[in-house]
């Protein structure tokens, strides 16, 4: 138990909590990638939540660090090779597909009218 509630302890706990939240978020998205059908996803999401809840009351900082590292290793092992990414986001199918044209360019709507009128 490192000294009651010093600033360093709290800062480390806060950093760990943030790591846990980001890990949970990525693991949940990954679960959605693997289990596309909704009923399967809900079951797998509940299982994931149970795993996180089982370690909820751990107090020792080092144990927490080890658990988070183990969780991240498991996440890396189970990552989907072809995750769903929203089309316009980096890695999606529409990313930089139609980039904004450079600013000096205009379209001249003359419908093929020629100048020898």
């Amino acid at each position: 138990m490192s000294g009651a509630t010093t600033a360093a302890y709290l800062a480390r706990r806060a950093a760990q909590k943030e790591r846990v939240r980001i890990l949970y978020r990525r693991a949940l998205k990954d679960t959605l990638n693997w289990a596309v059908h909704r009923h399967l996803f809900y079951q797998d999401a509940s299982d994931l939540r149970e795993k996180f809840e089982a370690n909820r009351h751990v107090e020792d900082l080092d144990t927490i660090d080890k658990l988070v590292a183990a969780g991240e290793a498991t996440y890396d092992k189970w990552r989907h090779p072809d995750p769903y990414i929203v089309p316009w986001a980096p890695g999606g199918s529409k990313f930089t597909r139609n980039p904004v044209p450079p600013s000096g360019i205009e379209i001249v709507y003359d419908y093929g009218r020629e100048n020898n009128d």
Partner: protein
């Protein structure tokens, strides 16, 4: 012959010399959020729509009491949720609005207010 030419000249529709940009200037919309006329994404959501949809998503969360949900509830303080529940709500909002929120910013979304602000200001919110 000269009379005919004179009559024709009188009847002829005067030719407008067109400017370099071609046709007449298109009507500019003075209201609304977007002036990007040629983009395929002119239909930004109105704030009421965003608020309605966000509240629907939060209300249909199983651990939330629907009667307590207002546009400025804090997920952890007012609704008594957990930080992991917060993550789940943000994921549900991402799915609802077809957004991709970066991890750091998703961590900061703590209340309905912030969620509505973020989604309303996001250019690709569907």
């Amino acid at each position: 012959m000269a009379l005919r030419a004179a009559v024709l000249r009188h009847i002829q529709v005067p030719v407008q010399t067109l400017t370099a940009t071609g046709s007449k200037p298109l009507p500019r919309w003075s209201l609304g959020a977007s002036l990007r006329l040629f983009s395929s994404h002119d239909d930004h959501l109105t704030k009421e729509e965003v608020i309605d949809r966000v509240l629907d998503v939060v209300k249909s969360f199983p651990k939330v009491d629907p009667s307590k949900v207002t546009p400025d509830v804090h997920f952890q303080k007012d609704l008594g949720l957990d930080s992991l529940d917060n993550v789940e709500i943000v994921m549900a909002l991402e799915e609802e609005f077809k957004l991709e929120i970066p991890d750091k910013e998703a961590d900061n979304i703590d209340s309905c207010n912030l969620a509505i602000e973020y989604i309303y200001n996001h250019p690709m919110a569907g």
